[in-house]
């Protein structure tokens, strides 16, 4: 047997596990070792049997009527589980109608920074974007045209002055 495993078996860790006094981390470690090393698994099973044997020697017959109480408690749970769910009923149209004096909207205090809009707004946003681009191109075009015209006027004025 591996010396480390023997050391682990002698550490008392398994006894702590069987008595429920091991920490959660130790429990996870023990379960890992039981899966990995058959010796650890066998030792743990033996300790569990020791506990069971001790309990068997120290057993006391349960009080008469104890099972009846447990049985009725379990029956109660089963009856609750077997209760048929309410059949689905289509709700009446009227129940959706708001009262005459009720406000059409309700106030909602929402911390979210996002908003939801109808899908139809997608086309409006696209049209606004395209029109924006067209206006920008047109503005640049007329600006350049205007600048060219100004230059030509300036040149003509210079020519006229020179002819005079």
């Amino acid at each position: 047997m591996n010396l480390d495993i023997q050391k682990y078996l002698d550490s008392g860790m398994l006894e702590a596990y069987v008595t429920g006094s091991a920490t959660q981390e130790e429990e996870r470690e023990i379960l890992y070792f039981t899966q990995k090393y058959p010796e650890v698994k066998q030792a743990l099973e033996q300790l569990e049997l020791d506990m069971e044997l001790m309990a068997a020697v120290m057993a006391i017959p349960p009080p008469p009527g104890a099972w009846d109480k447990i049985d009725s408690a379990i029956d109660d749970i089963i009856l609750r589980e077997q209760t048929a769910p309410n059949p689905f009923k289509e709700r009446q149209e009227q129940s959706f109608r708001p009262k005459e004096d009720a406000p059409r909207y309700i106030d909602a205090d929402i911390q979210d920074s996002h908003m939801r809009v109808h899908k139809a707004w997608k086309w409006v946003f696209a049209a606004v974007f395209i029109l924006g681009k067209i206006f920008l191109a047109t503005a640049i075009y007329f600006y350049l045209e205007n600048r060219q015209a100004q230059q030509q006027i300036q040149e003509l004025k210079t020519e006229v002055k020179a002819l005079k």
């Binding site: 447990i70 049985d71 379990i74 089963i78 077997q82």
Partner: protein, 150 residues
């Protein structure tokens, strides 16, 4: 319908486990609470919860009694906090216990505090001013005594 079959088989499985282990568990709980009426209440509590844990308890390779004892300990958790320290070594068990009588005083105190008073290794180590490894070692020796008495 399936729910009913599962529920009914759960009920009969609970009955089978009760027939086999209720006495063992009742004996253990009585050693902790030292009062038969209180012990019965805890026994009922464990078996009332059992149908929800049947899958876990009846797993292949699992020691059923050990699982029941774990459930009982969880149920007794609040009771453990009210239990005074284990009595002196010569007066540990509520009833004659041939397993405990095979242990020396130190082993009895460690085993009693852990098994019947629900103390963790860390807490007991601090109380007895010993290292956790030492407490585990004493606990292991206590188990060796149990095996010798068997």
């Amino acid at each position: 319908m399936n729910q009913q079959i599962i529920s009914n088989s759960g009920s009969s499985a609970t009955r089978a486990i009760y027939d086999q282990y209720a006495g063992l568990l009742y004996g253990y709980i009585y050693e902790v609470v030292k009062d038969k009426q209180i012990a019965e209440q805890y026994l009922l509590s464990v078996f009332n919860d059992l149908p929800q844990h049947l899958q876990d308890v009846l797993q292949p390779g699992v020691n059923t009694y050990n699982r029941l004892q774990q459930m009982a300990r969880r149920s007794l958790n609040s009771f453990f906090e009210t239990v005074p320290d284990c009595p002196p070594a010569d007066n540990v068990p509520a009833r004659p216990n041939k397993f405990l009588s095979r242990m020396n005083a130190e082993q009895q105190i460690v085993f009693c505090n852990i098994h019947y008073n629900g103390k963790s290794i860390g807490k007991l180590a601090a109380e007895l001013d010993k290292g956790e490894d030492e407490i585990r070692k004493i606990l292991q020796q206590a188990f060796a005594a149990i095996r010798r008495a068997a």
